[in-house]
C-alpha cells in the first residue's frame, strides 16, 4: 500500500480500453483488489462493527471501482477505492441512524454497541500462540474502542494514513477534502488516541 504514495490528483483523462488493453486492465484490477481487499474489509469492519455488512460494503466498492474508474491510471485506484468505501460507510451509518430512529419510535430495541461481540467476531487463529492472539486481539479491541470515540473525520484520517499507508494527498482524495484538513484531522486523532490509550501503550 505504501507503494501507492505519490501524486493523487485524479485526472480527467480516460484511457480507452481496447482488446489486449482490456485484458491487461482486468489483470491489474484483479491484482489491485487482491492486495487491498483484506485491509479494506478490516477498515470497513472497524467503521461499521459488523463483518457481514463490511463484506457487502467492500464488494460494492470493488464493483463500483470496476464499473466507473477502471480507466483511471492505476496509481489513482487506491485513493479512489477508499473514497468509494468511505462513502459506502457513511451511507451505511445514515441508514442505521434512520433505522434506529424508526425502531425507537416503534418501541423496538435498536442495535447498539452492546450488540457487537468482539469475541464472537474474532477470526480463526492461523498458526499463532493463543497468548499472542489474545494479547493482540485485546490491544486491537482497545484501539477500536478508542477510535470509535473520535469524530468520524478524524477516525477516517487516522485509518487511511496509518493503516492504509496513504500519504496526505491520497488521504485528501479518499476523504474528499483538502490536504490541510487531513493534517488537522490526523494530528487531532493521533493525540486524542494517545491520550486515551497512553496508559496501556506507553
Amino acid at each position: 500500500m505504501n507503494a501507492c504514495a505519490g501524486v493523487y490528483a485524479v485526472s480527467c483523462s480516460r484511457e480507452q480500453p481496447t482488446g489486449t488493453k482490456t485484458l491487461q486492465r482486468e489483470r491489474q484490477l484483479n491484482q489491485f483488489l487482491a492486495e487491498v481487499e483484506r485491509r479494506a474489509l478490516r477498515f470497513a469492519e472497524i467503521a461499521v462493527r459488523d463483518r457481514d455488512e463490511a463484506l457487502d460494503l467492500v464488494q460494492d466498492a470493488m464493483i463500483k471501482l470496476a464499473r466507473k474508474y477502471v480507466d483511471k491510471p492505476t496509481h489513482e485506484w487506491a485513493p479512489l477505492f477508499y473514497r468509494i468505501l468511505q462513502n459506502g460507510v457513511r451511507d451505511w451509518h445514515r441508514r442505521q441512524l434512520v433505522r434506529n430512529r424508526v425502531m425507537v419510535w416503534f418501541g423496538g430495541v435498536a442495535g447498539g454497541d452492546d450488540d457487537y461481540d468482539v469475541v464472537a467476531q474474532a477470526p480463526d487463529p492461523a498458526g499463532r500462540t493463543p497468548e499472542r492472539d489474545l494479547q493482540s486481539h485485546e490491544a486491537m479491541r482497545g484501539l477500536e474502542a478508542a477510535m470509535h470515540k473520535l469524530p468520524p473525520r478524524q477516525r477516517e484520517a487516522f485509518m487511511l494514513r496509518t493503516f492504509e499507508g496513504l500519504d496526505v494527498a491520497g488521504t485528501a482524495t479518499a476523504m474528499g477534502c483538502s490536504q490541510g484538513s487531513v493534517k488537522t484531522h490526523y494530528f487531532r486523532a493521533i493525540h486524542s488516541l494517545r491520550e486515551q490509550l497512553g496508559e496501556h501503550w506507553q
Binding site: R42, M62, I63, A126, I190
Partner: protein, 149 residues
C-alpha cells in the same frame, strides 16, 4: 542529518516483539510516529488473522467485480465502435439515396420524358380523352420498332 532512534527490540514471554523506547529521548512527532507504528502493527495482525470463510467471501466479491469489468469492457468496446458504425451507416444511406435505382419509384425509360412533354403540351387534354387509344397503339409501336431493328 537525523540521528537514528535509540531503541532495542525485546521479546516478552508470549513471543510478541515489543520495541523498547527511552521516552525521554523522544519528541512529540517521534512519539506520534511510534504510536502510529504500534497501531499499524496491530491492524496488520488483525488482517493476518482473517479466517478462511471470510477470505473466500472476499474472493467471490473480487470475481464479481471482475465480471462487472468484463461487462463494462464489452459495452465500452461497443460504444467505441458506435460512432464509426453510425457514420458508415449514414454514408451508406446517402449513397443509396443519391445513386440507388429503387428509391425514386419505378424507373422510367428515356422515352417517357418525351411522353411527358407531349402530355403537358397543348394537346394534352385531347390526348387524355383518347388515352385508351394511345395505350393500345404503344405496344404496337414497340413491336414494330423491334421488327425494324
Amino acid at each position: 542529518m537525523k540521528e537514528p532512534r535509540k531503541y532495542t527490540h525485546d521479546q516478552d514471554e508470549t513471543g510478541l516483539t515489543k520495541p523498547e523506547f527511552d521516552k525521554t529521548e523522544l519528541n512529540e512527532p517521534e512519539l506520534d510516529e511510534r504510536f502510529a507504528g504500534q497501531a499499524k502493527e496491530l491492524f496488520d495482525d488483525s488482517v493476518e488473522r482473517l479466517d478462511a470463510a471470510t477470505l473466500s467471501r472476499l474472493n467471490k466479491g473480487r470475481h464479481q467485480a471482475l465480471v462487472e469489468l468484463q461487462k463494462t469492457g464489452l459495452a465500452g468496446q461497443w460504444a467505441l465502435w458506435m460512432p464509426a458504425t453510425g457514420i458508415a451507416a449514414a454514408a451508406l444511406v446517402a449513397v443509396v439515396i443519391l445513386q440507388g435505382p429503387g428509391i425514386e419509384g419505378p424507373s422510367l425509360p428515356a422515352e417517357s420524358v418525351t411522353d411527358f412533354e407531349i402530355l403537358l403540351g397543348e394537346d394534352s387534354l385531347e390526348m387524355l380523352e383518347e388515352l385508351e387509344f394511345y395505350s393500345w397503339i404503344d405496344p404496337q409501336d414497340f413491336e414494330t420498332d423491334n421488327n425494324v431493328g
